[in-house]
Symmetry: C2
Subunit: 335 residues, 2 copies
Amino acid sequence: MKILITGGGGFLGARLARTLLAGGQLDGQDIDAVMLADQQAVPSDLQAHALVQSVTGPLLSQVDDLVAWQPDAVFHLASAVSGECEADFDLGLRSNLDSTRALLDAFRHAGHKARFVFSSSVAVYGPDAGHHWPGVIGDDTLPTPQTSYGTHKLICEHLVADYTRKGYIDGRSARLMTVTVRPGRPNGAASSFFSGIIREPLAGEVAICPVAANVSHPVASPGKTIEGLIKVYEASREAYRGRTAMNLPGLNVTVAQMLDALEAVAGPAVRALVKFERNAQIADIVANWSQGATAERAAQLGLMPDPDFQTIIRQYMADCQQAGLSATALKGLGT
Amino acid sequence: MKILITGGGGFLGARLARTLLAGGQLDGQDIDAVMLADQQAVPSDLQAHALVQSVTGPLLSQVDDLVAWQPDAVFHLASAVSGECEADFDLGLRSNLDSTRALLDAFRHAGHKARFVFSSSVAVYGPDAGHHWPGVIGDDTLPTPQTSYGTHKLICEHLVADYTRKGYIDGRSARLMTVTVRPGRPNGAASSFFSGIIREPLAGEVAICPVAANVSHPVASPGKTIEGLIKVYEASREAYRGRTAMNLPGLNVTVAQMLDALEAVAGPAVRALVKFERNAQIADIVANWSQGATAERAAQLGLMPDPDFQTIIRQYMADCQQAGLSATALKGLGT
């Protein structure tokens, strides 16, 4: 089977590719080829893999060639992040809306019905004055997005559902919770600090937390997120139920609980590297986010949240060590 | 003030234009000009009106000129109907999705912030296996559209909300209930029979009801629908509350109640012209529709449903008489 991953050079896309290649199978079928499409060059370990091909550039210009490659499986992860979309409205429309529409239309015109997982986001939710806002969201909560990013994700969910209804693709949309801990540097997402307040102290650096310690949010480790995308792909249509988006499970934690977990894993000196400096712009955005999540449909697929935040931190540390980053990325541990 | 009505040659668009011109004002301001954009030529009474201009052709090719005209008020009603969109997927994308997007982008690029009412539809709702389906829908019910028409309406609601959030327009979306009684001939909408089973018997013709007598649905008269669009326009942003779509009020009636009302107004011989012949295709579509509706947000704007179905029938008969159609359209009355 041939697998296309858009955003395949990004953090989640590359991790998904590595996980699939390590297992050798998807939905019980041997993996013959993996195509990674990304704006940026894909990581060298994936470039060197015998089964991997990659294309670099804007997705919008690649869709016809990618569909002509006739993938059996598609994981459509490519996306501009929320902060980028707020700063550049056209970028958001092009990268997150028009590119997805073009990809779906390319499958439709080719008459090639691939199984298609779209990575949506908890960012589809938020309070709108005209509606009841429960704070803790579930599969039946009304999405009223508060950003262009969330708006475009929600729109694409409904395109995926309708193209599926018409039989052009076998589509499923999985709403990712905030993925924590992300490696590397802060990105343009307003949620970036949810990783930064763990990652930077572990590397011996000061981290600024721009929101109050009692802010609560549903998060998921990279590992659980990838597990969710694969299970949603492998679910039968009957098990997936319906055509609209499914929330992936999230662990509901406060910033204070995250820092307690950091201290338990890495000690009080590491925790002390986190300073609270309210950033009104970020705090206002986060105030509109879900304070927690339930995920009944995901549970019926056997998907559960990470058990606790210490486990999430330990996954990040193990990832760093596996990547040979222990000396630099984890110097803050001092152990 | 200058008012643009897309779909201004259609049944609702023309009625809205006539209502506004008869009143002479919108939101307390004198109406100086009304632009009607439609695929078809607009009715002759409107063409002859001193304040009316019109353009004929596909909306997608007109948006730049329409925005350059600098309307203060926009009622965006232009739309292909549900049956057309199911039969021709590209038509639905072009007429209902791309045209709306192009109109919104034209306002954005022009830097001209008009007040913009988008006519959405109760067709955004329907049962999806992955979600709880209450049957009777309200403002907070999760929309999971079951047609391309409903999908595109929902998508455009969210575009209107996001362009509003960004300040490109002052947008509001009103979800119309099924408008009954429509004059003229059956159109491509699966809901067409909701008008046909009243209109055809009143004209002395046999009408086929393709669904069972116990089918229930929220309907609204043309008059109440136009009242709703105008009130949504005239609401302050605070009174409208939020940015996402508001359900207009619907009268919840069964087919049997509609026919009882027909008999009460026009007699048993007229009612006897309605024959039940199940059409599986239409019945299956209608089985996925809302069985009723509540409209709390609309009520807070002072909008109430039609009081009963007899009132709706009498509105239709009065419209026919006013249009000089009594002899032909109402011959079935035999009185």
